[in-house]
């Protein structure tokens, strides 16, 4: 069916458009490419040094098989399905074979690229310790690709099977054994046996799957998980709207959000819990704080520590301003019989406390870098001064003039 193929193609290209937009944003804003170059160059120097120290007893094949094996066994299938498909595409399930075939092929190709990158990375180790010949590595690669395809195929059958845990386990063990035997190069007999085992497993899982229905919600979950990888990564550098409103329980931080029972604590509790659990605030705050501390540890000349502390706190404070406007349910919070002033005070208290915590952390890092206790006191006073001016001066005036 043309239309279904076209649908798949459109979804794939939409995904790539979105991904490339994020990628542009990331590379433009962060100097990530530069960092990657540095890691590559420095890494290759140390890699070479490390290779020189290796003795013949080093388990090279095991190491390679472990690293590559993970990516052979992990076989998520990109289907590009959306939650609405569970309503609209479901009736077409019988005609979607081509759609899912394309998905499997696509996932296979992409995951092979990952494996190639890994093999290139390990090739110096392979050539030195296992086999000098390029042909041997190329032949291994082809066998590993075949195992990759087998894994994808099994993974697809598993989408029909109600409890695929055992099959998954067997698939993982067999795949790992296969990759190890292939990389090792001297276990051809084992390779042949494992190929037979794989064929049998394929037969069994096909038979198990045949009598079953496709588990659409599992497909959707698998798709969403893969999308999240992109979103989370991009979120390290920029704001991802899809992650807005995502809630993480973070129950281990609950102790920090205990307030005395009573009306004056209502919005303290609301702001504290919102800060900790909503995706956008907590992650941002931690990232900025850690980044600030790391920079302080490396840049210790002159007044840079003071500057970094002020800059990080200022940026964090500005970002936390949006917490004030965090949407509250109209039916509950907007109807509470609580004075607006109490809400404002509660917000300022939470903001102030967060900035105090950040100030202390940045002061500790700064003082450790400089190596004097006096500078800790100075940094702390500086952070409190900024906090007071910003929170009690600027923010207080701002939220009074623009109530929610």
């Amino acid at each position: 069916m043309d239309k279904i193929e076209a649908l798949w193609n459109r979804r794939r290209s939409e995904y790539w458009k979105m991904a490339s937009r994020y990628w542009k944003l990331i590379t433009m804003n962060s100097g990530l490419t530069f960092v990657l170059y540095v890691i590559l160059i420095v890494g290759s120097i140390y890699y070479k040094k490390w290779l020189d120290t290796l003795t013949p007893s080093f388990p090279s094949a095991l190491l390679i098989a472990l690293a590559v094996g993970i990516f052979v066994i992990r076989s998520p299938i990109r289907t590009f399905i959306e939650s609405a498909d569970l309503v609209f595409l479901l009736p077409l399930e019988t005609q979607l074979e081509i759609y899912f075939k394309k998905s499997r092929l696509y996932s296979f190709q992409l995951q092979c690229v990952t494996i190639i990158v890994l093999l290139v990375l390990f090739s110096p180790l392979y050539f030195r310790m296992i086999n000098h010949s390029f042909l041997a590595l190329a032949a291994s690669a082809i066998l590993i690709f075949a195992a990759k395809w087998w894994n994808i195929d099994c993974k697809w059958q598993e989408q029909y099977i109600p409890q695929p845990f055992m099959i998954k386990l067997v698939r993982a063990v067999v795949s790992f054994g296969f990759v190890y035997a292939v990389v090792n190069g001297r276990l051809i007999f084992l390779v042949l046996i494992l190929i037979c085992v794989m064929a049998i497993i394929s037969l069994i899982s096909r038979r198990l799957a045949n009598q079953r229905l496709l588990k659409w919600d599992r497909l959707l979950e698998m798709e969403n998980k893969q999308l999240m990888i992109l979103y989370r990564f991009a979120n390290l550098f920029t704001d991802v709207p899809q992650l807005k409103g995502k809630v993480k329980p973070r129950f281990w931080l609950n102790a920090l959000t205990q307030f005395t029972y009573g009306q004056p604590s209502v919005f303290k509790m609301f702001y504290a819990k919102t800060f900790i659990r909503s995706h956008e605030y907590f992650g941002m705050f931690i990232r900025l704080t850690v980044a600030g501390m790391v920079i302080e540890l490396f840049l210790t000349n002159g007044y840079s520590t003071y500057f970094i502390l002020l800059a990080v706190m200022y940026i964090s404070a500005v970002q936390l301003l949006t917490l004030w406007r965090h949407i509250t349910p109209q039916a509950l919070a907007d109807l509470y019989p609580i004075h607006e002033q109490i809400k404002q005070q509660n917000y300022l208290q939470i903001l102030f406390s967060l900035l105090v915590i950040q100030g202390v952390l940045l002061s500790i890092a700064g003082a450790v870098a400089v190596g004097s206790f006096i500078s800790f006191i100075i940094l702390l006073i500086l952070s409190l001064a900024l906090n007071a001016v910003f929170t009690l001066g600027y923010v207080r005036a701002k939220i009074k003039s623009t109530p929610v």
């Binding site: 029972y261 604590s265 509950l332 109807l335 004075h339």
Partner: protein
């Protein structure tokens, strides 16, 4: 009879050039459950928004226990609880935290809060979901959370907008039982709904809204009598009004 909610000469809506409600006059007494019925777009939700103080009247006044929202906002707000048609929850708070915040906001004594919470959880079969987030709740469960938040407060006035849709039978029964109990304790309840058979059974009086005006109001017997057919159900009368067969009203 003591009027808890008193709406007089209310003209209102979203834009002053296009008022949706025209000269509404009605009240809800202490211990009374009044049904607000009308087609989609008749003005039920707009009326409710005015009562909640989310919209300002263009003309007329809304008093709760004698005071308008302008006279004493905190008093006005503390008198009522609202159960909306579409559940509206804090995505980042658990069920327990929703209840806790409501109780704290309305200054419920901590011991009362515990007692009431446990009872409500049991009534709505939500005892083991205290640590759940709304993201994991079905529509009906979310509705139950809203209902529990309202009944936890035990205010003088309940404003309820179409509570039945999505609730399971146990939920509906618990909700009806609670309404009855609160009524007997002296609460006033204004409930908008399309489930007429249930409304007919439970409401003391009805207000039938049509095109932003009150077509008719009164007890079911009064309305039937005026309609001229004592065997007619609320459903029949409501359909007649909605179809424009209103000659019997005046």
């Amino acid at each position: 009879m003591e009027k808890v909610l008193d709406v007089s000469h209310l003209k209102g809506g979203y834009s002053i050039n296009q008022p949706v409600l025209h000269n509404l006059n009605f009240h809800v007494n202490k211990g009374e459950l009044v049904g607000l019925v009308g087609l989609n777009g008749a003005g039920k939700s707009t009326t409710i928004k005015h009562i909640l103080g989310l919209l300002e009247p263009f003309e007329g006044a809304i008093r709760v226990n004698g005071k308008t929202i302008k006279e004493d906002k905190m008093f006005y707000r503390s008198q009522m609880a609202y159960i909306p048609e579409t559940p509206d929850l804090y995505e980042q708070l658990t069920l327990k935290e929703h209840l806790e915040l409501s109780a704290m906001a309305y200054q419920i004594d901590e011991k009362d809060f515990q007692k009431r919470m446990n009872r409500l959880l049991e009534m709505f079969r939500m005892e083991n979901k205290l640590k759940w987030f709304p993201g994991h709740f079905s529509k009906g469960m979310k509705q139950k959370v809203m209902i529990m938040c309202a009944f936890l407060v035990q205010p003088n006035l309940y404003v309820v907008d179409e509570p039945f849709v999505g609730l399971d039978p146990i939920g509906i029964q618990s909700f009806l039982d609670l309404m009855k109990e609160m009524k007997e304790d002296g609460a006033a309840i204004l409930m908008s709904t399309h489930i007429l058979s249930t409304a007919e059974q439970y409401c003391d009086r009805f207000i039938i809204l049509h095109d932003g005006k009150i077509a008719i109001q009164g007890t079911i017997d009064e309305i039937k009598e005026k309609y001229g057919d004592t065997r007619a159900s609320l459903h029949d009368i409501y359909v007649a009004v909605a179809r424009g067969e209103t000659s019997w009203i005046r």
